[in-house]
């Protein structure tokens, strides 16, 4: 069958991709039978850990020298529609799969005390969520992809709507509507592609040539869905609400993995399937990315709620991701993918830290959580590490990602590069502001501190991190520095796939060049003006 030329079938002793996708689902079903709360938590943790361990061969056995989809499984499904169950990973998705399996145990761990009601359902929902997220990253079939894409919506909605904060109804509905709105366009694109080509197989869809106009429609439909998901200015407004109201685990899933779906979608659908349209739209998306970077950073600067601050910082960080993607060069793409991983670790870590302090003081306001330096030093140390990582301090993971994106940007044009710099400055500003207030003093700057005075201040004694909490943040910290100092293994994994993607774009961009006389004049003129600036 011709599909096999894109695949390297799984040679491990077990079907690794199906296994990591199904283990959480089976675990979710079993969890319904467990009544005892403590056992439920341990069971949930075990399931996520087993999934993580099962996914490790993806890292160790990954073939760096091929652009085919590895560990693939191909089984007939609906023969009528020529629909197969086909899964596989390449250098881009394998990292995101690993990120997902890596982050999920933390979602259980950080809920140990946080979730006070309906624990059984909570574990169920989180595990179903894991299945859906892994499914999205491993599907090589548009139908499968879409099923998982939509399947994520419900557990995430429940996470916010059931275990959320005060304004959970508003936030969950907003999240639901925004995402659904985007996915409808995605569905239209998927159907349109099927009608045109007669296949659902993603690699085959990438190999097709489409007319420029067709590419534009596909690109716009997909890009809207992914731009909402990632989220990009101006469709980002669901994110702060969802983050603030979601429980810690929800925020971690949202920030660490869900947002990455948008970036992944761009890389999997928009760029390879509509290369000419991508090239055409590149300046606009770069502009939107720059706006996201600066706008997100600027709004983060003004927040008094810690979670909101981190949520807006995510908009800025994801702006760097989309910027890197649409620079369409090697450094930009690698930086973008790395930045997705980094953001997953760092922002996940930050949300876990916020959850920890919320469990202690029952407030997420910066003003209520100030001057902690002398009281809970271990907490503050790790908070400092994650904050520094978030502002792309050299030696931490985010620096490498941001540096590569900036490298790509300056390679493209110095103007784009310089326009992205304020984002880096703002990141330093809001993170240091947060750190200064939380560690040193509160906003009204009341003078000299002593331990006794602080305990009175907070009304109750704060306890520093316990073993469970420390073990969580230590693992994340390890990855912060590991990727910060030695990102080579990750860069190597994505190397071949990124090169292949660039080749697809340049080849696709060449065969269907934009015809300047073909109709879209107004857009083109604006575009050429824009391109002149960008190519300085």
């Amino acid at each position: 069958m011709h599909m096999e030329k894109y695949l390297i079938l799984n040679t491990l002793s077990y079907p690794v991709l199906s296994a990591i996708m199904l283990v959480p689902l089976v675990g979710a079903l079993i969890s319904l039978l467990i009544k005892d709360e403590q056992r439920l938590k341990v069971f949930g943790l075990l399931v996520t850990l087993v999934t993580f361990v099962l996914s490790l061969p993806l890292f160790t056995c990954f073939d760096l020298h091929t652009v085919k989809y590895q560990f693939a499984e191909l089984r007939p499904w609906f023969s009528l529609l020529k629909l197969n169950y086909v899964v596989g990973v390449d250098g881009i998705s394998v990292l995101l799969v690993l990120l997902t399996t890596f982050i999920m145990p933390f979602c259980i761990l950080c809920s140990w005390r946080y979730i006070a009601k309906r624990l059984g359902e909570f574990i169920f929902v989180v595990l179903v969520m894991e299945t859906a997220m892994i499914g999205v990253f491993i599907s090589l079939n548009t139908v499968l992809f879409y099923i998982f894409w939509e399947a994520m919506l419900i557990p995430m909605f429940l996470l916010i709507a059931v275990w959320g904060g005060a304004r959970k109804d508003y936030a969950s509905i907003k999240f639901f509507l925004y995402t659904l709105c985007g996915s409808i366009f995605l569905l239209v694109a998927i159907v349109a592609l099927y009608i045109k080509t007669g296949t659902f197989f993603i690699p085959a869809l990438m190999d097709q040539e489409y007319s420029f106009a067709y590419q534009m429609w596909i690109f716009l439909a997909c890009a809207l869905a992914f731009a909402i998901k990632i989220p990009m200015y101006p469709v980002h407004t669901w994110l702060p609400a969802a983050h603030v109201e979601a429980p810690t685990a929800g925020s971690v899933i949202l920030a660490s993995i869900l947002l990455k779906m948008g970036g992944y979608g761009f890389l999997r659908f928009c760029l390879p399937m509509a290369p000419a349209a991508t090239l055409y739209c590149m300046p606009y998306l770069i502009a939107l990315s720059l706006i996201s970077i600066i706008f997100g950073g600027y709004l983060a600067l003004g927040q008094t709620d810690i979670k909101k601050l981190i949520a807006y910082s995510s908009v800025g960080h994801m702006g760097f991701v989309t910027l890197g993607i649409f620079l369409l060069n090697d450094q930009g793409l690698k930086g973008a993918i790395l930045q997705m991983i980094n953001h997953g670790i760092t922002t996940g870590g930050l949300f876990i830290m916020v959850g920890m302090i919320y469990e202690r003081t029952h407030s997420r306001e910066i003003a209520d959580n100030s001057a902690l330096g002398m009281i809970i030093p271990i907490y503050v140390t790790f908070l400092g590490i994650f904050c520094l990582s978030s502002l792309a301090f050299p030696g931490t993971n985010s620096f490498v990602g941001e540096f590569l994106v900036l490298l790509g940007a300056f390679k493209k044009s110095a103007v784009v590069g310089f326009l992205a710099i304020p984002g880096a400055i703002l990141a330093a500003a809001y993170m240091l502001r947060l750190l200064q207030r939380m560690v040193w003093h509160d906003s009204d700057g009341h003078g000299h501190h002593h331990d006794e005075a602080d305990s009175e201040d907070h009304g109750h004694a704060l306890t520093d991190l316990n073993f469970r909490e420390i073990s969580m943040v230590v693992v994340l910290t390890f990855f912060v520095f590991w990727i910060g100092l030695y990102p080579t293994p990750l860069l190597k994994i994505m190397d071949a796939s990124v090169a292949h993607l660039l080749q697809q774009i340049s080849a696709g961009g060449a065969v269907s060049p934009v015809d300047p006389h073909a109709g879209h004049h107004a857009l083109l003129e604006f575009g050429s003006w824009f391109k002149q600036i960008m190519t300085f």
């Binding site: 301090f393 490298l407 400055i425 200064q436 040193w440 700057g445 501190h449």
Partner: protein
Amino acid sequence: MDTIITSKILLTSALPMLTALLVMFSGKKPNLRESWSIIGALLTFLSVLNLLPHILAGGAYEFTLATLYPGVNIKFHLDGLGIMFAGTASFLWILAGFYCIGYMRGLDEHAQTRFYVCYAVSVGAAMGAAFAGNLFTLYLFYEIVSIFTYPLVAHHQDSEGYEGARKYIVYLMFTSKAFLLPAMVIIYVQCGTLDFCYTGIVNGIFPEGANKLLVVVSYLLCLFGFAKAGIMPLHNWLPSAMVAPTPVSALLHAVVVVKVGVFSTCRVMLSVFGIQLLQDLNLGIFTAYFVSFTIITASIIALSKSNLKARLAYSTISQLSYIILGVAMLTPNSITGGLVHIANHAFSKITLFFCAGAIFVACGKKDIKEFGGLGYRMPITMIAFGLASLSMIGVPGSAGFVTKWFLALGAMDISSIGLLVVLLASSLLNAGYFVPIFLKAFFGKVAPVDQGLSGSLESKPLIMFMVVPLLITSIISIILGIYPDLFLKIINVMVGA
């Protein structure tokens, strides 16, 4: 001589970090804690000394710790410039270690463990910067210095301390993110690497035909990006940072922090751009005149300050620009003068800060107006102050004279009357703000509150912890004027290579 590739050179920056850990875990036992601090300082200095012979013979050490991306490594490369800075800073750390004991205990300061930890890490990061083998490593350690000196500046945790520390971190972080980061990226895009040029200071790393505009832009970004060098108009953080305890001002704001800034600026000028390129683009002479403004203006402001630490802060700003001036004139003589001033200024200025702190601990005085008669109650301190002042002014026989001699030679090499005038004028200004302090202490009118008080303030054991180090540094700043050979030799290896 050859370049030796060895992980041995990691030891020098690792030792202070290790010291910090030991200090952290012995926080409950002050004597043990301070011993660690001093032992760590001693070992660090010895580890630098151990590397010296090979460098003096014209060799170098190198080690790559990690690779982030091709051409972006954490890489250490030790040459003459680096070892001079590292040697000076680690030697002064030993003395500062003793001094800290006197100061911190004398004033019964709080959070002393935090203080010693941050102090050690900052020195370690400065060592890392001195040993840096490429721009990224330099940037990494430069930033670590910024972060770990913040708690030191904010040490008192009152609103004045927070305000000063906020200004400090805003200036340093803003400039490094806004200027250094793009500079680094532009340099990488142009050169394909961030490694320094290891084969002398003439040719930088820029390839032929690099975009001139971007070269100039990246140079200016570097010049302003290293705001720790205190070049006006980005100098304001330094006076604000003087709210820190005096040992911090002494070691960090006269030796480590500001010198990391100046060292980085010089390093980038010499090992990234190279004097040939700077000359071709006229950037050298531009920088020389630009920093001349700082030299003169900062001195004039210093004249107007009556708080001793504030006056010293502005004096520091002015003196730092000498170093950059020397390098910017781009002649062998001027570069020698500039670089040797890294060490010369360090010994003299730390003496002055040590004196300011000793006076404050002994009798609580900060303002020069109250210093009348102090010379008789703290004779050793004030004589050391006098010696260090002579070096600052550049009186023959003192360390400062060596600097000014070479700088003047350099100015004549490029036949620039303007810069010569700057040097002379600033020497006069230096005399104008240092001599009155000395005179006041010995011949000034005793303040009404001090009437009738007599007897030495220096006999207390804790004060002795402070007086002995400052005496040593003041004597060294004279010795360096009489036997300037060691540092000149190191620099000749660098400049001549």
